[in-house]
Symmetry: C2
Subunit: 196 residues, 2 copies
Amino acid sequence: MPNEESRRPHTGRRRNEEARRAILDAAVELIGRDEGPVTIDTIAAAAGVGKQTIYRWWPSKGAVLLEAMAERATADVPVTDTGSLAGDLDAFLLATFRSAGTGRTAPLLRMVMAEAQRDEQVAEVMRDFIAKRRAALRGVLERAGGRGEIRADADLDLMVDQAFGVLWYRILIGHAPLGENEARELGRSLVIQSRP
Amino acid sequence: MPNEESRRPHTGRRRNEEARRAILDAAVELIGRDEGPVTIDTIAAAAGVGKQTIYRWWPSKGAVLLEAMAERATADVPVTDTGSLAGDLDAFLLATFRSAGTGRTAPLLRMVMAEAQRDEQVAEVMRDFIAKRRAALRGVLERAGGRGEIRADADLDLMVDQAFGVLWYRILIGHAPLGENEARELGRSLVIQSRP
DNA sequence: TATTGTCGAGACTTTCCGTCTCGACAAGTA
DNA sequence: TACTTGTCGAGACGGAAAGTCTCGACAATA
């Protein structure tokens, strides 16, 4: 089956980028403000948009939130190279905790994770997102391994999950803060447990 | 205001223990079987019970699932004393992973966590449950600290969250297994990072 | 035997999701 | 300029699920 896009150039009115931004921003804004329910109807109303405009471009509410989350995560957490495992971990974890643990983002992450549990389509995209974040952190560890900073029998995947596990666990339960001190202490414990 | 229970002894028909068991079991069974939706109606029907009988004793579906989860966790994971940190951690983590990572329980945990994100009442009880689990593991670490097995500046709360963080993160995302090997490897990394 | 509270069953209301339809409008085509 | 195509905001609509309410039956106690 040939691709229909290639047979015929696009006709008709184009997608409104302003509507897309308004939807993503309204969703995050509603969740962060924490006043009343966050539904497709309230998001559409807050964005000044019809419901169909949302469903035309996203399959579900979870997909909207997931896109907003991914947008922020990739923009806020670049991978830097300081030359040492301790430095790289500190940079990565500080940026990650700052981005995820902050006021508007944490409630967003909570709702995305909840949606992923009851919507297999959201879970699918979520796994892709998670895989990318894990690969970024794993890259930091592998680079340190190449410098001889990590013992040979260390379980890198487990270390990655320890880091993101603490992050998500604390976000979802809310029993402990996610600040700079916590990021640094976590980085330190990962360095210690992986030393040759 | 005096307690009404103390003024007048209970009269009328008593709570049916068999109905309670049937409700909790039906809920877990429905979630584990993963066929069709798990709602208050389907739980009531599967338990052979009226909806009102559920709402008389639990405020929401999440509360039912949370009770079923807590019931299993406390029964399946006793704290044992082997005399060494490595042994105690192994016993605790093996029992925990066996209980949580297994077929019927993991989907239950997923749904409870999801409910806790959108129901503050469930979240409240959830935090109590989590606090008890964390205290159990922290007790293991403190006992090891008393034996001089842990460095003085170790962050015990962070270690606890690393363990449960990995558990929940892998349950919720499903990107990696939660078997005996993983439990042992996790125990090993916690021992290494906390050595004096 | 009378009172009290639980039982199973199901009707009912409310909320939210997701689909469908409408007239208006914008972008490309003839 | 007309015509075609697809998006826009708005809202009606049906279905699913939560949670409330009522009913007659039944069990435990006074």
